[in-house]
C-alpha cells in the first residue's frame, strides 16, 4: 500500500462572503453596478426594471465602478460607499 498526497490541499477562509438574499423585495431599493462589459448596463438595468415591476421594489441607482475602474477590478471605494448607503441589493457581474 502506498500513500500519495491529494494535489489541491487545504482551503483558506473566503475573503468575503455574500450577504443573504432578502426574502421579500417589495419596497427595497435595487442598485445596478455596471461592470463595463459590452451590453452589461443594458442587460442588468432591464433585469432590474423587470424585477422592480414584478415585486414592488424600485431601481434606485445605476452606476459604473468609477473613473479608471473596469470589469477586471473591484469598484472604487466612493462607489462602494454610495451603494452601501443608497440601495438594499445590487445586480452586477455580467460576463462577455
Amino acid at each position: 500500500m502506498d500513500q500519495i498526497y491529494a494535489p489541491d490541499g487545504p482551503l483558506a477562509p473566503p475573503p468575503i462572503t455574500s450577504a443573504p438574499s432578502p426574502p421579500v423585495l417589495a419596497g427595497l431599493r435595487i442598485g445596478v453596478l455596471d461592470n463595463l462589459k459590452p451590453n452589461a448596463k443594458l442587460l442588468m438595468q432591464r433585469a432590474a426594471e423587470q424585477i422592480a415591476a414584478r415585486t414592488g421594489a424600485k431601481v434606485a441607482l445605476v452606476t459604473d465602478k468609477g473613473p479608471g475602474y473596469n470589469s477586471a477590478t473591484p469598484c472604487s471605494d466612493p462607489i462602494f460607499d454610495k451603494l452601501d448607503k443608497e440601495v438594499d441589493l445590487v445586480i452586477t457581474g455580467s460576463a462577455d
Binding site: 500500500m1 502506498d2 500513500q3 500519495i4 498526497y5 491529494a6 494535489p7 489541491d8 490541499g9 487545504p10 482551503l11 483558506a12 477562509p13 473566503p14 475573503p15 463595463l36 459590452p38 473613473p67 479608471g68 473596469n70 470589469s71 477586471a72 477590478t73 460576463a95 462577455d96
Partner: protein, 345 residues
C-alpha cells in the same frame, strides 16, 4: 487528513493506475503524472528551508493555501527536481501579489497564462534553458517547472477550465510556460537588476499571451529590427490594444540584442523606441473599440494623432532570450495585470 492535507491510500501506484485515479478525480493537466508520494514530496522539501506549512499565498478562485508542501506536491506531479523548488516558491509568492490580479487572470475569457522567467545564477545552476529553443520542448527544468506552476493553478487555485478558468479557447501556454533569461548573451546585464531586484537570482511572472514572433534577417541597425517588433505590438486583436496599463515583454534574441547594443542603445532606449513606434491613429482605436481603458490624457488625443499601444514607456520590458538566429518575440499581457519580479531566497 493531516493539517488539512489529504493523503490517499493507493493499492496500485503504477503509472497507468495513477493516470486513471487522477482523471477520475478531475485532477491533472491531461498528461501522465508522477505519483506525489510522501518520499518524493519530502525529497523536494529537503533543501527548501522554511516551514513546509507556511502559507506562501492564497490563490483564487478556490482560495487554496499554497504552502511549500503543496508546491512540492505539484512539483512532484510535474517531474521537477529539488533544484527547481526555489524558483517555484518565488513564483508562487508572485501569484499572490495583488498587482498580478490572479483572480482576473483566472476569470477572464482571454487565453492568458503566467509566463515564468528565471533570472540569474539559479538558471545555470539548475539547468534552465535560456538559449536555443528556450520557449520550446526538450529541457526538463523549463518543461517541468512551467508545468508545475500550471498544476498549482489547476489544483490549489482551482483554475480548472469551466468552473475556475473561463478562457474561451485556452492555449498551449497554459500547459507549461517557463524560460530563462540569457544573461550571458545580454549586453545589458540581468533584467531583474534593472527592475530593482538586487539578488543573485530572481523570477518574473508576466501574465500574457503566447509569444508573437518577429524576424529580421538582414538589418544592421536597431530601428529596422525594432520597427518589426513595433508592428507586431500595434495590432488590434490583442487584449492590450486599448488597455493603457497593459505590458509587453520583448524577448530579444541575442543577435538582435547585440545589434541594438552595438549601436549604443540601452535597454531603456529599446523600450523608448518601441513606445514611440508602436502606435496607431487615435481614430483607429475609436472606430474599433467602444470600451477603452486608457489613461485620462489619452482620451483627449485628436483622431489623427498617433497613440501608443500602452500608457507608459516602462510598460515595455526587454530581456534577452534564445540562441543563434534572427528571431525575437513579443509577449503582450492580458492587460489588467502587472508583472511581478521577486528575488529567489
Amino acid at each position: 487528513m493531516t493539517q488539512g492535507y489529504e493523503l490517499l491510500d493507493v493499492v496500485d501506484a503504477s503509472p497507468e493506475a495513477m493516470y486513471e485515479l487522477f482523471e477520475e478525480r478531475g485532477w491533472g493537466d491531461g498528461l501522465p503524472l508522477v505519483p506525489p508520494t510522501s518520499a518524493r514530496v519530502d525529497a523536494l522539501l529537503e533543501g527548501c528551508g522554511g516551514d513546509p506549512d507556511e502559507v506562501l499565498a492564497v490563490l483564487p478562485p478556490r482560495f487554496g493555501k499554497a504552502t511549500r508542501r503543496m508546491v512540492a506536491v505539484n512539483a512532484a506531479l510535474a517531474g521537477c527536481k529539488p533544484d527547481y523548488m526555489p524558483v517555484l516558491i518565488a513564483a508562487t509568492r508572485a501569484l499572490g501579489e495583488k498587482k498580478l490580479n490572479l483572480r482576473g487572470v483566472n476569470a477572464t475569457t482571454h487565453c492568458v497564462a503566467p509566463l515564468l522567467i528565471v533570472h540569474g545564477e539559479i538558471a545555470e545552476r539548475a539547468g534552465f534553458n535560456s538559449g536555443l529553443g528556450a520557449f520550446g520542448p526538450g529541457n526538463r527544468a523549463n518543461a517541468t517547472t512551467g508545468r508545475a506552476l500550471r498544476l498549482i493553478l489547476l489544483h490549489i487555485a482551482g483554475a480548472v477550465p469551466g468552473p475556475g478558468d473561463a478562457s474561451t479557447q485556452g492555449g498551449p501556454a497554459k500547459y507549461s510556460y517557463c524560460v530563462a533569461e540569457n544573461t550571458a548573451a545580454s549586453p545589458w546585464g540581468s533584467f531583474h537588476r534593472s527592475a530593482g531586484v538586487d539578488s543573485a537570482s530572481a523570477i518574473t511572472l508576466h501574465c500574457g499571451e503566447a509569444p508573437h514572433n518577429f524576424h529580421d534577417m538582414e538589418s544592421d541597425h536597431p530601428s529596422r529590427i525594432l520597427d518589426k517588433c513595433a508592428s507586431v505590438m500595434a495590432t488590434l486583436g490583442q487584449n492590450n490594444a486599448t488597455i493603457a496599463q497593459g505590458e509587453y515583454f520583448v524577448a530579444l534574441g541575442p543577435e538582435h540584442a547585440a545589434t541594438c547594443a552595438s549601436a549604443g542603445w540601452s535597454r531603456r532606449d529599446v523600450s523608448s523606441y518601441l513606445f514611440q513606434m508602436a502606435r496607431l491613429p487615435a481614430r483607429v482605436f475609436r472606430a474599433q473599440f467602444d470600451l477603452r481603458a486608457w489613461f485620462p490624457w489619452m482620451h483627449g488625443v485628436a483622431d489623427d494623432e498617433l497613440l501608443p499601444m500602452t500608457g507608459e514607456v516602462d510598460h515595455i520590458k526587454v530581456f534577452v532570450c534564445g540562441g543563434a538566429g534572427k528571431h525575437s518575440s513579443v509577449v503582450p499581457s492580458w492587460g489588467m495585470t502587472s508583472s511581478v519580479t521577486l528575488p529567489i531566497e
